[in-house]
């Protein structure tokens, strides 16, 4: 029998606010345990939560960027369960009436039509603290570090619209791109700033009844998401083929083995006893607020990609690469603003710049060659001052010294030679010194032409105008 996997994702997005969601403590990490805490995030008796307005702004931005409706009156709820990293014995989250509802993202797999993936809801909530075991100065005991407690999160819940691990990864990548593009999340999956739980089930192809799903936790990279989903699909199919039944349960992904294992069954699942948090008043968001947020949204990656193609004439692939991150895309645009040759700027950003960044492990924000300088360099090529080959030498020097391209060209005498007399002189010398190859060429072996070009360029120390060299060589050799 053939099976159809059905996948839904729950993504936790840690927001880049300076302070926590319900108190004024810093969200800085890596500090001394429990140093970023106060009565509120410690859950002390008598302490009360106060909502951080920036979290609401970020949630609205995320919702509008994923085509959600913003709920005019949304409610915070308590999710009750006991765990030592949960100081109040409940997590403040949203249950009924989350801030964003009914959105979607369009994903496109290579060679396929775009597919719309529904987003059920986005809600705001606080993170829990962290348990510290054993060797961290605790002896045999365990400690609780509440620095992370009360850090703001968005939970983005998709519809079960995904049908393969590739679709799941494409959706996840797009969501990741949007939240980092908006600047509301640093997107660091290793550190858990963007983490994902996957709900996976399988059903016979053509069936209308969904299979029983398993929720897979702890899949914290795009690679692991793919691995975990693929493993889980096969596990469920094997189970059914062997006459078994899939049980509803929570499973944990083990990145070392690439397998999932049972964590707790449905029977062991908590009854969270959600109810509206009486310490927080309903969050009322006016139409004006939504419209103001909408007007403040940056151009989103999809829109920008489209504009790069239609306005700047870029190829779809190039447009996609150049919108991979907002910083890269902004860099490209800043270059085009100075030198109006989008194709050339695109090639250099995707080529030399990306290579140099990768080689040195630098991020685009810290690129030692600012986009305006790169544009100046490309101008020098396009106005014939230097050749493309020399430009690469100049670029290396710009990267190292931070000097302006024209300065380097002048200091090192790299100006392109476009004087036909001077080039003809060099050509004559080369032809005279290589009479054998001249004979070969004239007897029809035109391949040696490249040899002459190379020799002339070498003799000119790369400065001869290549187009002119070609032209003059042809006329000399034929003549």
């Amino acid at each position: 029998m053939k099976y159809q996997p059905v996948i839904g994702l729950e993504v936790h997005v840690q927001l880049l606010t300076d302070t926590k969601i319900f108190c004024g403590c810093s969200t800085t990490f890596g500090s001394e345990p429990n140093s970023q805490t106060c009565p509120v995030c410690l859950g002390l008796p008598g302490a009360l939560p106060v909502l951080n307005g920036t979290v609401v702004e970020y949630a609205i931005k995320a919702g509008l960027s994923t085509n959600c409706t913003i709920t005019p009156r949304s409610i915070f709820a308590r999710k009750n369960y006991f765990y030592p990293d949960l100081p109040k014995g409940y997590q403040i989250s949203q249950f009924e009436d989350p801030i964003c509802q009914n959105g979607w993202l369009d994903i496109t797999l290579a060679g396929q039509e775009p597919k719309r993936i529904g987003i059920t809801r986005i809600h705001m909530e606080e993170d829990a603290g962290k348990l510290v075991h054993g060797d961290s100065g605790m002896g045999d005991g365990s400690g609780v570090d509440l620095n992370r407690a009360c850090t703001p999160l968005l939970e983005v819940v998709s519809e079960p619209d995904l049908r393969s691990s590739d679709e799941a990864v494409a959706y996840l990548k797009q969501l990741h791109q949007i939240v980092t593009w908006l600047g509301i999340c640093d997107g660091n999956m290793e550190e858990g700033s963007f983490r994902c739980d996957a709900n996976v089930s399988v059903m016979p192809v053509g069936s209308k009844t969904l299979g029983t799903r398993a929720e897979i936790k702890n899949v914290n990279s795009f690679k692991f998401v793919k691995q975990a989903i693929e493993y889980e699909i096969l596990r469920q199919i094997d189970l059914i083929e062997d006459g078994g039944t899939v049980v509803q349960e929570t499973r944990l992904f083990d990145p070392n083995s690439g397998k999932t294992r049972s964590m707790r069954s449905k029977e062991e699942a908590h009854d969270y006893r959600y109810f509206p948090d009486p310490d927080l008043v309903p969050l009322v968001i006016s139409d004006q607020w939504v419209e103001r947020s909408r007007s403040e949204l940056p151009e989103l990656p999809g829109q920008r990609q489209q504009r790069f193609m239609t306005d700047l004439g870029l190829l779809p692939y190039d447009a996609e690469v150049l919108t991979a991150s907002r910083a890269l895309s902004d860099y490209f645009e800043a270059g085009v603003a100075v030198h109006d040759n989008a194709k050339a700027v695109a090639n250099w950003v995707m080529g030399e710049i990306t290579r140099a960044l990768n080689d040195s492990g630098t991020s685009i924000d810290a690129c030692p060659v600012p986009p305006e300088r790169l544009a100046e360099l490309l101008k020098l090529i396009d106005n014939g001052t230097i050749s493309g080959k020399i430009a690469k030498t100049v670029f290396d020097e710009m990267w190292k010294s931070g000097k302006a391209p024209l300065t380097i060209v002048e200091e090192q005498g790299l100006v392109q030679v476009s004087d036909s007399g001077a080039i003809e002189g060099i050509i004559d010398e080369i032809l005279a010194a290589n009479a054998g190859q001249v004979e070969e060429y004239r007897s029809g072996k035109e391949k040696v032409f490249g040899f002459f070009v190379g020799q002339v360029m070498k003799a000119s120390k790369g400065k001869a105008n290549p187009a002119l060299v070609n032209e003059l060589l042809v006329s000399r050799l034929k003549g």
Binding site: P39, L42, G43, L44, P45, G46, A47, L48, P49, V50, L51, R78, N80, F82, P84, P87, K88, G89, Y90, V144, D271, R273, Y274, F275, P278, D279, L280, V281
Partner: protein, 484 residues
Amino acid sequence: MNIFDMTIHELHGALKGKQLSSLEATTALLKRIESVEPQIGSFITVTAEQALAAARSADQRIARGEGTPLTGIPLALKDIFLTEGVRTTCGSRILSNFIPPYSAASWEKLRDQGAVLLGKLNQDEFAMGSSNESSAYGITRNPWDTSRIPGGSSGGSAAAVAAGQAIATLGTDTGGSIRQPASHCGCVGLKPTYGRVSRYGVIAYASSLDQVGPLTRDVADCALMLEAVAGYDPKDSTSVDTPVPDYSAALTGGVKGLRIGLPKEYFIDGLDPDVQKAMTAAIDTFRRLGAEFVDISLPHTDYAVATYYLIATAEASSNLARYDGVRFGHRAQADNLLDMYTKSRSEGFGTEVKRRIMLGTYALSSGYYDAYYVKAQKVRTLIMNDFISAFTGVDVMLTPVAPTPAFKIGEKINDPLQMYLSDIFTIPVNLAGTCAMSLPAGFSAEGLPIGLQLIGKPFGEETILRAGYAFEQATEWHTRKATL
């Protein structure tokens, strides 16, 4: 007159006129506490040293001419208010070792005025009770008859005022916990409108109902205390950003033309005859003063107690989850996490608290939530609407505070339902979120105080204070003292 029997405004006059120092007053109060505390049991913690130091510094402040009406006044707080550096137990064993690192916003306001803290007052555990018998720190006795309960849950706050152990106190009121003990102990107690006083730093019982308020010896003191603690607090999202009126200035003006509603559901057959008699006399007094009476109805009153015990316990079950032995409070020795939780909470909480946690957990459980919690919220809305519509025709309402005067210690402790019904006339006000005041209106044949409840519109504290003040001026109930 005994210093310990003075009102705030009397003592303030004496401090200002240099007839007395705060140190003398504080010393007199501490002496009184020492002498009557064995009979009463109002206090869980007496902070004598800190009180004397605060009194000295208040005297300096007065000497510099920087005193305010509360500077140097010896007060005490229900042990539900967090006091930085001073143990705060909430009447529970689970917090027997809890020394808070911060103070309640309402106490900070009093302290900033130079008020002197005498100590922390006994109460029902986590404010759950109507008799002060659920405290883990012993019972509190009614100063008028020490075989009887003082009421609860702010029983210590009322008994201390009545027994001359504090000039005034703060309590909290979730279903009547200020008004009912005030009534039983013959003092004035006011539950402000929900959102009028910050709840920050007050240990939560039922967050949507809890409100801080004063217990005092007369209405003028009540106005002074309320004015001191009221106001918006950005740290409490449910506090309301509306200006605090000059409550003292609002006292005078009388009740001529004031329309007072008598809700028929509060004058029931089972009402104690002495309470009934006191109400009739009070109505006559108000009428003589020029008030008009209107018969009104609050038709959903019968459902109030049931509604309250679903909403309050649901919120409590969640609010009390933080007492888990992990970060503060009582922790039992155990071999694993689950045992640690179970044992710490089993040992730390008393019977009534456990009962309410169980009730609330049940009401919120999957499959029961709609039938209990959601339905209770709907009924709460109906009760609110009762008040809104009744208040279109009247300015205040007059009712008894409790169906009987103070009952005997032990009389209802094993019958939770009977105990819950002692709050039948106070609970609807909390559900409606409005304000109400209890004030002395007579005595039973056995010499027990009987309180009268004036219910105001939301943020109508000025009106009930004015009506209460007029009544107080026309009667002498508030001048009587318990003999100890």
